[in-house]
Symmetry: C2
Subunit: 353 residues, 2 copies
């Protein structure tokens, strides 16, 4: 397997991106094409003895899309931007997947323009795995689209379900619709219309509305929502975790000798727990719905997250998820059509009676 990595994308690029790629090449025995400014990339690589023996190569590019730029304009104008060229490598069949920790908007736009959407899919969707006590909940869409149509939210559910099954190994994933109450009649217009459609989907295990609290507790395996809500919830979780951690550190610092000793004794336990809940263990969120494997990593990704994100790409490719999404979308269309015809026949025969 060969992965194109946008070496210039992310708050700590290219250093941490290159380092994480080297780690991944060792860990997953995959080939990696580092796309970006060759001198800068080479400088970091040369700090890592033995990198030449790994399947790592450099694809030189001269442009970078910055965080503040308008995604569509930037992707159109900067033909030699690292994220654009990396995505093109997948389109051309040179690489099996693309990974970027740069501007999410630019990565999504490049994927849409270059790889194009899967036939039948209205909107691609970012699927973010959230660690739960038992396993993981896939939250999608976490920011690719806002004001999403109900039929596109349904497609998110189908794609998320396939991903959870074939990458996380969850049989018949429990799919929930993020809403403000359990009852079918609850929610805004978008949620109510989506619920109606979800009831008639054949290929997923739709289990009703999920409330906000169901996301971290893991009561559902896949939770669907509009990208506006998903993005806010994820960033809220990020802010909350950071705030609480900071407050605990301050409290221990101000807490005297016993508190400090207590904290010291708890370090191994907390480290173990931290590892279990560590979002960097999941590293990347796949962009589902485009004709190619595209993984979005967090902008603040360090080497560890980049390495995990390459692992995500690996699972996505090996699980053959793309083909499964294509097949399921076609099957779902056929089943819906068959049902419609059946209903029409029933109506006709009822009319005759």
């Amino acid at each position: 397997m060969k992965i194109a990595v946008d070496a210039m994308g992310g708050d700590f690029a290219p250093r941490e991106v290159v380092k994480g790629s080297v780690d991944a090449a060792k860990k997953f025995h995959c080939e990696i094409v580092l796309v970006g400014d060759e001198p800068q990339i080479r400088k970091v690589l040369e700090e890592t003895p033995g990198w030449e023996k790994l399947g790592i190569s450099i694809h030189h590019t001269t442009e970078v899309i910055e965080m503040g730029e308008h995604p569509a304009e930037a992707v159109r104008k900067k033909k030699d931007a690292s994220v654009v060229v990396a995505t093109q490598l997948v389109k051309d069949g040179v690489c099996d997947a693309v990974l970027s920790a740069g501007s999410t908007g630019a990565a999504v736009t490049a994927a849409q323009f270059i790889l194009k959407r899967i036939r039948g899919i209205g909107r691609p969707t970012i699927a973010t795995p959230i660690p739960t006590p038992g396993s993981v909940t896939l939250l999608l869409d976490s920011g690719a689209n806002v004001d999403t149509k109900p039929e596109h939210l349904v497609q998110s559910g189908i794609m998320g379900s396939i991903y959870a099954e074939h990458v996380f190994g969850i049989k018949e994933p429990r799919v929930g619709l993020l809403n403000i109450g359990e009852e079918e009649t609850k929610g805004n217009e978008q949620a109510k219309a989506t619920y109606e459609l979800l009831k008639n989907v054949h290929t997923i295990n739709f289990c009703g509305n999920a409330e906000g609290r169901d996301v971290p507790t893991g009561s559902f395996d896949v939770v669907i929502c509009d990208g506006f809500v998903g993005n806010i919830v994820l960033k809220f979780a990020e802010g909350l975790a950071k705030t609480i951690l900071g407050l605990i550190k301050d409290a221990v610092k101000d807490g005297g000798i016993f508190a400090k000793l207590g904290a010291l004794l708890l370090v191994p336990t907390m480290k173990k727990l931290g590892k279990r809940l560590d979002v960097t263990e999941y590293g990347g969120a796949p962009l589902l719905g485009v004709n190619g494997v595209c993984i979005i990593a967090h902008g603040s990704s360090k080497a560890k997250s980049i390495c995990s994100a390459i692992g995500v790409a690996d699972g996505y490719v090996e699980g053959n998820v793309l083909d499964k999404i294509r097949d399921t979308i076609i099957r779902e269309e056929q089943l819906a059509k068959a049902e419609e015809e059946k209903n029409m026949q029933t109506e006709e025969s009822e009319e005759k009676v």
Copy 2:
């Protein structure tokens, strides 16, 4: 001050509601009317010696609105429901405020039907205080309305700002619009339209878009959003806190003698921190925008939360927030009209030139 408490509303009603009311009567030296089934209320009261010397009375009612009921239907049909009667006591001027930990929908509907909206206000809004490291962030709307019109979100901002200033004592509260990016052009249609309107509001200190992470960190004093988003974010926070706490407890239990000792040594520090972040310290969320003081408490409220919620009612009434909202809405209307006239005059004189 006299507060009508819906003694039958909440998961632990009437026991915890009555107990919390007794505590509040002592703490805030206020009169309390416990509205609900007299025999049940009296039974709990009699466990508390000396309650007769406090300003507590019982207003007997025969009906209760259950959690699953349709709010509007239930409020219309059950004229003798505890929440309906308690709200009526405010309307009739017998009490200064109403508090309920029962069905939020029923409490909001009763307030809308009986107290009516403040003139000029399109939708009432629930303002939930969220503890932050430095102070508190007021998140509104946290669930009273979904698919809210931009002009109603703006009114939420005005009301929240007044509340934060006069109840929390924050001078010129920083008001933010919950969105998926800092830039003015980000967000869904609702957020973009609301941003445009907020720029021209005279009576608040609008500081731009707030991202999800800004809510717990306290970068804004007041954060406005649609009730759909607010409700999901709050319930998500609730689930996350519960999940993490459970995991820490399990980790300590499985962590051997050193972990247990460490946890023991940390207890006082964590208790102090917990108290600082304790949502039950804030207890209740005011429903802003109706002609009367109405406080919504969490369904799972225990005595402590009920007592704090009564404290919230106290601050609301003493701060004269209702009159200030009425005055500001009128002033804002006048300022907008004056500006419009000025613009028209400028256009006219430009045309003449």
